[in-house]
Structures are given as C-alpha cells and as structure tokens.
C-alpha cells in the first residue's frame, strides 16, 4: 500500500471516529443550543431594525449603520448554520478547496457591485 493510501485510510478512520454514534450523541445538545441562538439572533435582527444607530454611532447619517448591523447579525447566524449544522468547521480539505473558489468569486462579485455603485454616472433628476 502506498503512503498516500495509508494516509487516506487513516483520515477515513478519523472521519468515522468524528461521526461515530458516541460523538454524534455529544453534539445533540450543541445543535439545540445553536437553534436557540439562531432564534434569539432573529429577534435581535428585528429589534435592531427599529433602532436608528446613526444617532449614536460615528458617522451619523452618512453611514447606514442599520444595514451594517443587520448584515453582521445575518453573517453571525450564517456562520452558525454553515459551521455547525453543515459541519464546515470540521470538514475535509477537498470541501475547503472548493469553497475557497466560491468565497473568492462571491467576494469579487460583491466588490464589483459596490465598485460600480461608486463609479456610476447616473444622475437622478431633481424633480
């Protein structure tokens, strides 16, 4: 057996250990707690939407703090779903390699969106 095969079989055994019945049993409470955290996060999102953060955070009206706060909460909730429900915090290297491309292209897409907004020549008619 080649070295790479030996290594692969070791990692498979490791994976089996990670998702063994005993290990999964330990994680059940964690899943419930994360579900609770996500629901609290939802309440927090709604609460934050009705507060004008521009009044007491730096930048005032020029920075849309409500959008920033809402996106921070959504990202935190998204991390809990992806990290724990989808087990991404303990996934194989192969998946990380695939997702690295997704992260890069998604970030590029959002960067281009924001960049095009700042360099837009659209002038709205002042009626």
């Amino acid at each position: 057996m080649s070295n790479s095969m030996q290594h692969a079989e070791h990692s498979v055994a490791h994976d089996d250990h990670d998702h063994s019945a005993e290990e999964v049993r330990k994680h059940v409470n964690r899943y419930l707690l994360i579900g609770l955290a996500l629901m609290i996060g939802t309440g927090l999102t709604v609460w934050a939407a009705f507060i004008d953060f521009g009044k007491f955070l730096p930048g005032g009206e020029s920075v849309n703090w409500n959008v920033i706060v809402a996106l921070i909460i959504a990202c935190a909730k998204g991390f809990l779903v992806v990290g724990f429900f989808m087990h991404l915090i303990s996934e194989k290297k192969m998946i990380y390699s695939v997702l690295a491309f997704t992260v890069f292209f998604f970030a590029a897409l959002m960067y281009l969106t924001i960049w095009s907004m700042e360099h837009s020549n659209i002038v709205h008619l002042q009626q």
Binding site: V67, K77, F85, M94, I95, V98, F106, L109, Q127
Partner: protein, 286 residues
C-alpha cells in the same frame, strides 16, 4: 455497474462522492443567489431618493417564517444525528416535523403573495391615485389579476382602506406618500383601518396594476428572490419526503448509504435556511 464511493469515502478526497457533488452544487447556488443579491443592491441604490419602499411586507410574518425555517434546520440535523445513533423511529419523527415546517413556510408565503396580488394602484384620468386592496365581493367590474392590465365594459371597483393621493407622484414627497401604501398586513394596519373605502368607475381609470412582480423594481426583485427561494423550499421538501417515505426501505438494505442521503439532502436544506437568513432582513427590515 456499481457506482464507486457511493458509501465508502474515496481515498484521495476522504469523502463519499455525493458529498463532494452536493458541495459543488451548493457553491453554484451561492453564486446564483449572489448574482440576485447584487441585482437587489444595484436596483436599490439606483432608485431615486425616497422612492424605495419600506415596510411593504409584514415583519411579524417574515419573522415567523424565519423561526419556522430555523426550527426545520434543527430537526434536519437532529434527524441525521438520530440515524447515526441507529434510531430510525426518531429520525422519522424529526423529518416529519421538517416537512410540516416546510408546509407552514409555504402557507405563510402564499398568504403574503396573495395579499400583494390583491393590492392595486389605480391611476385615474383626473391625475389622482387610489391605492389599496380590492374588495372582490363589492366590485362589479372585471379586474384582471395578471398582465395585461386592461379594463373593458362597465362596472365599479371598490378599494378597501384606500390611500388616495390627489396628484400622481412626480415629486419624492408625493412618492413617499404612495410608498406608505395601505398594506393592512403591515404595522400601519391600524391607520389603514381608519381609511374609508373608495369606489371607482371603470371609465375613470387611466392605468392600473396590482403589486405583482410587474409593479416596480422592488416587487420585481422581491418576487424573484423569494420565488426562487420558495422553489428551493419545495424542491428540498420533495427530496426529503422521498427519502423519508417511498425510499425508506433503503435503510434496511444499506443504512450507511441511506444516512448519507439524509446528510446530503440536509446540507441542501441548510443552504435554503442560510439564504433566508439574509433575505429576511434585506427585504423585510432594511
């Protein structure tokens, strides 16, 4: 021919093939929704000041749907955990709850859609605008719910809790007044109730449409984003149901393969939840 690595992990990736497959698919899904989010940002930022609608959607219903989807994500992961622990009965109970959550989500969503399709804006020939929900029992004119929006013949249209604007909005201020809308589902419900109903003759109407995807850029992107998401909910629920019911016999023959199927369908379901976590604040709150 047997498909290799359907159950056992492939030595070089350390994963069974379906898991690599679903992650590649999810990566493409992220880009699909990413492109639509990008469209949303550009439409919103490109809208003239004061014309982007706020509070057109019912926050309470949106919040309930968010909680329903989160609950379904918990039951999906618990169902997979139950199979890992060899508890098939518990798995079935958890996935039954998941399916009920999917049904609840779709019921609430269809209620919200129906509300938008019954909500009309009538531009009258005298330059005024009447905005509100059509009372179908009192209305005698044939009012279409779908494009093309054309009226023929005679009759009257009765609009409940009408928001009447004397001049068609050509200024941001007038537009803002129209943007409020009556929307009895929203937090302005109480205010809307104080508005009287309004009768319009067919001959008075110059142009009109309901609040379907064709109404403005907000409803266009709202229906596109939530419609595509709803299709994912339906698709995911069908797959989960098939594995849960008609294909349950696979568990007896090959429990590892069955558990893998549940894991893969669960990964898809979590993505559906993830997309909604971003859709909810973006469409309902901001």
């Amino acid at each position: 021919m047997e498909i290799p690595y359907a159950v056992k992990p492939r030595p070089d990736t350390g994963l069974y093939n379906a898991k690599v497959g679903i992650w590649l698919f999810l990566a493409s899904e992220v880009m699909l929704f990413g492109a639509l989010f990008s469209s949303y940002i550009l439409l919103r930022v490109g809208a003239p000041a004061g014309t982007w609608p706020h509070h057109w959607l019912n926050v309470i219903l949106g919040m309930i749907n968010t909680i329903v989807l989160i609950a379904s994500s918990v039951t999906v992961v618990l169902s997979w955990a139950s199979l890992k622990m060899g508890q098939f009965g518990r798995y079935r109970v958890f996935q039954a709850i998941t399916l009920l959550c999917a049904l609840t989500f779709m019921l609430i969503k269809s209620f919200e859609y129906r509300d938008k399709f019954n909500h009309y804006e009538f531009q009258l020939k005298d330059g005024s605008v009447v905005d509100g929900h059509v009372d179908w029992e009192k209305t005698t004119a044939k009012v279409p719910k779908w494009i093309p929006f054309k009226l023929s013949g005679e009759g009257k249209i009765v609009v409940e809790h009408a928001n009447v604007i004397s001049k068609y909005p050509t200024t941001a201020e007038n537009h803002a007044q129209l943007m409020e809308g009556p929307a009895p589902l929203s937090k302005e419900a109480k205010e809307a109730e104080e508005r009287p109903e309004k009768e319009i003759e067919v001959s008075q109407v110059k142009a009109f449409s309901n609040y379907g995807p064709w109404h403005n850029t907000y409803t266009a992107i709202y229906f596109t984003l939530t419609g595509l998401h709803a299709l994912h909910v339906v698709g995911g629920a069908i797959v989960i149901f098939m594995i849960w019911g008609p294909l349950a016999g696979v568990y007896r023959k090959d429990p590892v393969r069955y558990t893998n199927r549940v894991e893969v369908s669960g990964l898809f379901w979590h993505l559906v939840d993830l997309v909604w976590i971003f859709l909810f604040p973006v469409l309902y709150l901001l």
